[in-house]
Symmetry: C2
Subunit: 702 residues, 2 copies
């Protein structure tokens, strides 16, 4: 949750009444205060600007103050673009409360190693002691194009005619952020807000995203992310974005080892496990782009299409080949390239040549490049019907009628509240600017257009699913038994059972008669293990016999483990033998807990037992999860095909499995000292027979 100073600081950053520029000058040729002064002027910032520089009396006609502390009024935002040493002096001289937010352009702090990190921490402490909050250091600034508050050194601002839009961008790399911003603008995507979060010594990605979710001018939030610092904050803001219907699109880097090393040296941050981050994105409805191109594509498709309500896509082209490309990509992405109903076939047949390909994809035929009106009309017929939820039109070249096509489609876009995209390979120069400004998205390739429309449709679908999720409710009441310390096996067992995890039935028998009585009642094969507080590794000394059946075998097994125990540990206290139900049959799965340094405990599900060596695929969710959500782990599992029946068995007890997953996730959430927990194998039995954790292992941390 955001605090009061955070909110004040973020409002001061994006909606400042006054901005002080420390390091102001009239020289806009270098990346510093002079350039920022110029940009504020060019973009007509209407608040108060205070130049600060001891060298000048005035800058651009404004009174220049020798120091930040000399400004008589309180300042919303102070931009610092001066050497690191002067940054410190400047803040030291301030009265508490004088400045709400510090935007630190200056570099040479945490990114330089340990000494820099120490200086950075000290500066942050100082800023907090003055009642302020900080952006950066090592930021290239922030931008709000709606009000001209653009304290940034980003060259894009050198033009006056940059149009704002509903996209906001937060970037942990200033250079990447500025480049994406520029390229997005070039592609006609309206970006209203931008912030370069720099080293994130104070405010960090989740804080900016949180503010932007609440900003009415923002509809889409893009993030270039090298490392997530506050996992909980990120999950919270993802949920808030979801509830606000504002797509959160991230370009998260640092997947590979080589990438991770570079990220460390770049921002001094520890990069968490990428698989965990991916699981969090998936479960929070965060859309992840694979690279910069896709990041911009995603911003474009969300910026230029309305929300959708289904996954049936219509594909139109004037050449069969383009339709096939689009159909392949749409199908692979998970859309339904639904067959063309007779009713619509008849409608398009009225306007198309007889030899057109009347399918979905619709091949309108080559001559239709000269009839943009007909191409648009086909799209209109499909989109105004109940049979399709979205469409892609694929065209190529169109030397003469490009502008007419854009005009027709612009009308269609205004009339129809469903997403459509255009693939336009090699358009003529004369149409380029109109394509850029088009209110609908245009891509350079049919497959790319289809994939991006798919991103929109699947996001909207996912949003509906995730919003329907109940907030995780506690599915288990472990009581006092669940609070036992986890130091020994007895307690571990008690805790698991308190959380409703079914373990194999077992007893410690003092005599062979007791053991036999228990075995006979079980009516199953048993394992016999020596029971002694002094013997840690039973298997190694022959203290375990498995698959014991019948009275005679039991007697032999009891003798064996007793004899072996006495031979190897003559002084050990022997309490008797542990007789344990052996669970036979069932599908072996793994239920695990892994505590991630950023995102906290994750509940893990995948193939168990001997399958682990063959199939490493697991699915994860942040803990805790409710039973309803636990089913999602099962839906996504490679084991899916076996759930309905396995080696001749009937359907498996998925309810018991989902319920166990949910209860283990609460255990992980309740007990932070659990670093890892493996329940493996868990035998999932037939429907109604439950599931049994045959073996388990706790790794307990601090």
């Amino acid at each position: 949750m955001s605090t009061k100073t955070e909110n004040q600081a973020l409002e001061a950053l994006f909606e400042p009444k006054s901005i002080a520029i420390v390091g102001a000058s009239e020289d806009a040729s270098r990346m510093g205060g002079g350039l920022i002064m110029r940009f504020l002027d060019l973009h007509e910032f209407s608040g108060t600007v205070y130049p600060v520089n001891p060298k000048y009396e005035s800058v651009n006609g404004l009174t220049c103050f020798p120091s930040l502390a000399d400004i008589p009024d309180s300042v919303d935002l102070a931009v610092l673009s001066v050497p690191a040493k002067i940054v410190r002096q400047t803040v030291e001289a301030l009265e508490p409360g004088h400045v709400k937010c510090f935007l630190i352009i200056t570099s040479g702090f945490g990114e330089l190693g340990e000494e820099g990190k120490r200086l950075e921490r000290e500066l942050m402490d100082l800023i907090r002691s003055k009642g302020g909050r900080a952006v950066g250091p090592n930021s290239v600034g922030s931008i709000n194009l709606w009000n001209g508050a653009v304290p940034s050194i980003t060259q894009l601002l050198d033009r006056k005619d940059v149009e704002p839009g509903n996209v906001a961008l937060a970037s942990q790399s200033g250079a990447v952020g500025a480049a994406i911003l520029t390229e997005a603008e070039r592609q006609g995507i309206g970006t209203g807000h931008f912030v370069s979060s720099g080293n994130e010594a104070d405010l960090e990605f989740s804080d900016y995203a949180r503010y932007l979710v609440d900003d009415g001018q923002v509809g889409i939030i893009g993030g270039y992310v090298e490392s997530i610092r506050k996992g909980e904050g990120f999950i919270d803001v993802s949920r808030a974005a979801l509830e606000a219907g504002k797509p959160l699109i991230v370009l998260k880097v640092g997947k590979s080892d080589a990438g991770a090393i570079a990220a460390q040296s770049h921002t001094g941050a520890l990069v968490g496990s990428d698989a965990v981050a991916q699981a969090v994105f998936d479960s929070s409805g965060v859309l992840r782009a694979a690279d910069g191109d896709q990041f911009i594509d995603f911003m474009k498709v969300f910026n230029k299409t309305p929300a959708s309500h289904g996954k049936r896509i219509a594909l139109v082209s004037h050449s069969g080949g383009a339709g096939v490309l689009a159909a392949d990509a749409a199908t692979e992405a998970g859309l339904n390239v639904a067959a063309l109903p007779e009713e619509l076939r008849a409608k398009v047949a009225e306007i198309l040549p007889d030899y057109a390909g009347f399918n979905n994809p619709l091949d309108a035929t080559g001559p239709m490049v000269f009839r943009p009106d007909i191409l648009a009309e086909c799209l209109r017929i499909f989109l105004t019907s109940d049979h399709y939820d979205a469409a892609v039109l694929s065209v190529k070249l169109i030397w003469r009628n490009g502008l007419e096509l854009i005009e027709e489609l612009t009308k269609l876009h205004a009339d129809v509240d469903k997403p459509f995209a255009v693939s336009w390979v090699a358009p003529h120069e004369n149409a380029m600017e109109a394509i850029r400004k088009a209110p609908f998205p245009v891509f350079s390739d049919p497959a790319r257009a289809a994939r991006n429309i798919a991103a929109r449709l699947l996001y909207d679908d996912r949003l509906r699913v995730l919003l329907a999720d109940p907030r995780p409710s506690r599915d288990v009441e472990p009581g006092v038994a669940g609070e036992a310390p986890l130091g020994n096996v007895e307690n571990q067992k008690a805790v698991l059972e308190a959380y409703g995890v079914r373990l194999p039935r077992e007893m410690v028998a003092a005599t062979i008669d007791e053991a036999e009585e228990f075995r006979a009642a079980l009516d199953s094969a048993v394992a016999v293990k020596i029971a002694s507080p002094d013997i840690a590794h039973r298997t190694e000394i022959g203290g375990v016999v498995t698959d014991v059946r019948g009275e005679d075998e039991l007697a032999v097994a009891c003798d064996t483990v007793n004899n072996n125990a006495r031979r190897h540990h003559p002084d050990a206290r022997i309490e008797g033998v542990l007789v344990q139900e052996m669970v036979n049959g069932g599908l072996e799965v793994l239920i695990g807990v892994k505590r991630d340094p950023v995102f906290g405990p994750m509940i893990v599900f995948g193939p168990g037992g001997t399958l682990v060596e063959l199939i490493g695929d697991v699915n994860m969710l942040p803990c805790p999860v409710s039973e309803a959500v636990a089913y999602r782990l099962l839906d996504g599992s490679v084991l899916g095909p076996l759930f309905k029946g396995f080696r001749g068995s009937g359907p498996l007890d998925l309810k018991a499995l989902a319920s166990t997953i949910a209860r283990v996730s609460w255990l992980a959430a309740d007990r932070p000292e659990i670093a890892e927990l493996d329940l493996n194998p868990v035998a999932v039995l037939g429907d109604g027979d439950g599931c049994v954790a045959v073996d388990y292992k706790f790794t307990v941390g601090d």
Copy 2:
């Protein structure tokens, strides 16, 4: 293999001494003969042009002939852009040998359905009877920019200044091909040859590719492919391209069902299984692009980089973020982002700021955007060392020094014989044309640049591996026994054994004593099955008992199957019982054969037994394969982790497995009547113990 008329026709197509334009006119405003006349003139075709049109005496100052047959000399290439009916009349009137090649622009044949296909076949028969060969119908023409032979209706030709290069493009869709050609040209990729193969009623993709492989002006062959007609021809031409060191890059569509349906209705061709096509591509070194963008990217990177000799990549940027993006993508693609050696670190440290990130990726720091010479020098230091095989430079924006950067890198490109690519996000307008013309490839995103350099490096690596493959040599001498008809089980067994496939040992025993003697000698559990020519489904009637151990169990089993047989089939002839060795242990795999309608028999390898339901992943190769190549199926298998040891066993007998695969592949190649063959499970035993086909099933076709 190509025939003599094929070669003549293709030479007539791309290197014609004379071109007749049937349907010539002076009207270049419509897509027809007039436009082709204009393009031939504009691109200075130096051969003879014969306009043909009964309406005119002359066209553009050239004598116009009333009919093709009226041209006194023989004609290399006749271009037909007249209604379908006139096409036929035109060809009918010819003397045999008058025209070598017919380029049929006219549409309205096979793509219109059964009646169109019939007309198309008749036309082809007619053309063959006149000693000619045909391109199309439904082609948009062909282009050879090197000699101005450009009989095409592609609008790109409307400009005189289109530069040829070493890329050749063959496309089954005229519209897609023309669009790709145009976009490639826009991106500065030199394309010298183009052909739109249309309906491929006669000459088809493999024929064009074969010719282009042999053409000295061609270095890279791109193909837009909706369906491959001659599998063997395609495999041959892939191998020829490999041996010539000319990358064959395909954009193959029709992956999805929706796509396949569209392809059918578009070209009337049956789309083969995509997985088979992919396996053929993989085994033939064919590079497959995922979409049109990637297709063009691949052409660019091969057009603008030299061949490589390793997989170690150096990454340079002026911002850490871009380096991370490139490193992630390079690692994911399979390159080695090798650590920066001290020796090179020292060299770049001499020219970079102290606070640069001295790793790989190298972060040269933001101010280096003003020093393109230093960025290029870093690249030069890496590429002239023995430590790196290739490099990617990632830059952004560069408002002032863009042209200088291109100049420096152009020098580097001339000096260094290793591939490098540039990622340039949002370049300034002033650098756009120079970027297009640059002799090295420039992409819009660091990940994209890294992925494309990876495509180059991995292709070169793959080429070395595949060229080292021996041509498949016969690993087995089945003799006469291998030729037995496959109608009954005994013969099937004999054939498998003739091909060296080990089956479980077994015998038909007439008495219990005989059965027991065989069992005792085997020293393994056995299965007992009733042996009768009249009982087809033994399991259903209780005619099979498995896992029989010891003398007593055998006696019971023999009684059981005999009794059940008599009860259910009182009149059946009973020959005794089949006693069969049961193979226990070992890894269960599947070795299969599947005959593809296009590519012929494929040998298939994957998980077997009960794993099939869990892991459907299989690998395939076209038959036959040698043992050496069969190992490649094992290398690529999901089962790989189990080969070194499985459930406590030692390493498995991979030699026996590879050898069995190779021998089965020869069986498939030798016996075309095998439509499918499943050896499943094949138990792969420990090293030296071989592998046993526990069960098998033939599907015999015509």
